[in-house]
Symmetry: C2
């Protein structure tokens, strides 16, 4: 006999435990919680995931998650479409949007180049980024990838691709700026507890004090 | 505009975050994980919970979760149906089953008496337990409720109900034993690190050494 008193329960636990970071004991606790909810709520829970895969699409422009062919950010006329912020994933878009400090558009790579994990430039949305730039009218590309070896590699790869293709790219403005987000001591952090690489960078990349 | 680039995504995150102990950030991570899975797997995930509430029933005898009217344990002819182990919930049945040390049947209360949380004797399966005992043929009732004030209250309430009703209960064997599981120093634990209440109990309730 199985450990579980019910096969249906066991299947639900198996599914819940298939989520990353959810162990079998937690999965059982969550499933038993669902079982105590009214049927309509469990149905809503189930439907949300069923719809998810069927209805969510990726924006044809920036590859962000969207309900429509063009995501709300790319479709907005209030955004600056000449500035593209390159990010690794959807969460990063949401984080930057939450700051309220950015009014350009995005390009979601869907990962970073990682030879260790077998992720090459063709596995992420770099070609489509180059294509967007080649259409012209882009004045700034902000690289906002993680500060890891993989992030740095990807930054460097994108930079090289753009430099190499500048001649082929028709209508390419010569003044396309490629920038990257500032790295330094986090706001509110003590100097003495900041790691030395971050602190070192914050000194090298110091900026003019505006009193 | 919502924080989420997609309403369908947001609904899935809301549902995931409705689970106890799952925050919005974790919920988003889990939903994005699902979104990366093949459609068939997401469908299987969704279906498992849809079936859960529709198909899982509670055993009419012991109130354990079951796929059938009578759970596999209550339906088994290999189990000792004269011994009932009273537990708080389904997880406890599974834990005791996993020990392989118990061959009787169970009674799942679905909670313990807790005036603080407004849970009275009528809110849990005590009446049905008394009814099972009143049918006779029960030789032992093992109380395996948590060692908390609520568990102790529930133990005492059940004991009193049985004592009070002994006259009304027809066919009641006079030799119904009411026992409770042993409390003491956990196997593998150091004496010096055991809390004093547990250690005190383990001395008071010491048993004969069988060399």
């Amino acid at each position: 006999m199985s450990d579980y008193p019910s096969i249906v329960l066991e299947q639900a636990v198996n599914q819940m435990a298939s989520l990353p970071g959810v162990g079998r004991r937690t999965a059982l606790r969550l499933v038993l919680h669902l079982l105590r909810q009214p049927e309509a709520e469990v149905e809503a829970f189930s439907n949300a995931f069923s719809r998810l895969k069927k209805e969510v699409v990726y924006c044809r422009e920036c590859h962000n998650i969207s309900d429509t062919e063009l995501c709300p950010i790319c479709a907005s006329t209030h955004r600056d479409h000449s500035t593209i912020c390159v990010v690794e994933n959807v969460q990063d878009v949401m984080s930057i949007e939450n700051t309220g400090q950015y009014n350009g558009v995005y390009h979601v790579l869907g990962g970073v180049i990682s030879p260790m994990e077998g992720i090459g430039p063709k596995d992420i949305e770099i070609d489509s980024l180059i294509e967007r730039i080649s259409k012209g009218d882009i004045s700034e590309l902000i690289l906002a990838l993680p500060t890891t070896m993989e992030g740095d590699t990807t930054n460097f790869y994108i930079y090289r691709r753009i430099e190499n293709q500048k001649s082929q790219i028709k209508n390419q403005k010569c003044d396309l700026r490629i920038t990257q987000i500032a790295r330094g001591v986090a706001v509110g952090n003590q100097i003495e507890y900041t790691d030395e690489i971050t602190l070192g960078r914050s000194i090298v990349n110091r900026i003019e004090f505006k009193g």
